[in-house]
Symmetry: C2
Subunit: 254 residues, 2 copies
DNA sequence: GCGACAGGTTGACCTAAATCAACGTGTGCA
DNA sequence: TGCACACGTTGATTTAGGTCAACCTGTCGC
């Protein structure tokens, strides 16, 4: 797929409803959306979803496709429905800081003014729901609980950002990598997956740019953790954690 | 003043109103509050402020007084009305990351769940308005514009946090310090002060813990900037910026 | 008036992580 | 079939910033 032309399909053309009489209108794919409960849409009920779907477009992206570019007019916000997305900021000479990875259910577009304050790119195959930002803001007046949900998401993101500052400013390479693996483990657990088997769709370079390290240091630190029996590298970019409590201690230098 | 007993005065006992017939109720000190416009209270009008003042307590603190402690039950949120506050997180071995400095007009308590996710301490003399969190949350239903304001503040804080991640993860000591001075300059300008004269109420050690550096490196970097004619150190912990454009370039490695 | 102490600066030296470099390995395309 | 390229690993060397130590200044309490 071309970088400049991700596939789009208008939500209201994308009729996937089953013939059974669902409690939702069959024209609304949101009703059947598997990740709805963990995303912003989770606070809305059936008829409210109809309002949401009118302002939504579905999109898909492949590895390295740009999703938004820092500095562009911030006309859209997104809901990740599948795959992983990286958010990053660049310095003029090309140094890059990844400020976060988003996975299914995550909302993209929280921290922004008129213009995107960071860029976003697909890590592997990604599917999104795209919303016109002005129209979504209009819905906030109609559905106060949507606003409440956004506020609580922003609050969580802020707490996460503070943890990341502690990591970037004060942790060693090993503590950084352990913290990263631990956060993936916690996320897996909260989504009902096995917390000891992690999927790492991103490259070593991406991990480095997230943790404030180089590719080489990330690779060496993985090797050390493997050697010390803390983790095992499985095929397919997966990692097995042998002792989560130990990892927790190592993440805090305890 | 004792660390454990900051002075308190109930807002509704603190009658400061002038005898003139103000458009506000004279019993409400918020009406005359100089920093109201830049804080959350700025969105409320006179009678709405009356609801706010019922749930507010004024407090003052001195240097090094703790204001909140990470892990404590998050029962209160605060509005800084004077002085500076530092927010920080600690690792078990004492390493510290300051995640932000708050000044007058700033809101303290955005990113939190049941429990404070960071600590806060006074930098110099501080005055605050303290709100019962549950009661303030109750007001959000009554005044939707208060909620909108909080969301936009959270959004700004998030953007700031992302800038700080770029700084901590990818900038050199000199770029870090220049970025810090530049952000103080921008804040001064936005508040109507001279952007080339900065007040630094915090210690070199605090600056180091904010920028992910040691005291010594901060001190040496100040010396270098002075030597290169970028800044001048004035008495009273103030700093004069000689060329803001140059500082801007140095902050981004351009 | 002075002794203790906190904060700041500077110097000498050290080290964690960066840089530079070589080399695998897998995958997709000619 | 093979070769170009992206990605990962490992080794040798460098370096930015940390650590350790000395010293200076101002100030606060006695």
């Amino acid at each position: 797929m071309s970088r400049s032309n991700p596939s789009e399909s208008q939500g209201d053309l994308d009729i996937l409803g089953s013939p059974r009489a669902l409690p939702y209108s069959v024209e609304n794919p949101c009703a059947a959306c598997e990740i709805r409960e963990m995303s912003i849409c989770g606070v809305l009920d059936c008829e409210e979803l109809d309002a949401l779907i009118k302002i939504l477009t579905r999109q898909t992206f492949e590895t390295h496709d740009p999703i938004i570019d820092e500095g562009e007019s911030a006309d859209f916000v997104f809901n990740v429905t599948g795959g992983a997305v990286k958010l990053f900021k660049l310095l003029p000479d090309g140094r890059r800081q990844i400020t976060g990875f988003l996975y299914e259910g995550d909302f993209l577009g929280m921290a922004m003014n008129d213009v995107y304050s960071y860029s976003a790119e697909a890590v592997g195959d990604v599917s999104l729901c795209r919303f016109n930002r002005r129209k979504l803001e209009g819905l906030l007046d109609t559905f106060p609980k949507l606003e409440r949900r956004l506020l609580s998401m922003a609050s969580n993101e802020l707490a996460q950002a503070q943890d990341q500052m502690l990591l970037l400013g004060r942790k060693t390479a090993q503590e950084k990598l352990c913290s990263f693996l631990l956060s993936l483990s916690r996320r897996a657990e909260s989504r009902g997956y096995d917390p000891s088997i992690l999927h790492l769709p991103m490259s070593r370079n991406d991990i480095g740019d997230f943790l404030g390290l180089t590719t080489e240091t990330v690779s060496r630190t993985f090797t050390n953790l493997k050697r010390d029996g803390v983790i095992r590298l499985l095929e397919g970019g997966r990692v097995q954690i042998n002792d989560i409590d130990q990892l927790q201690d190592m993440a805090e230098g305890a």
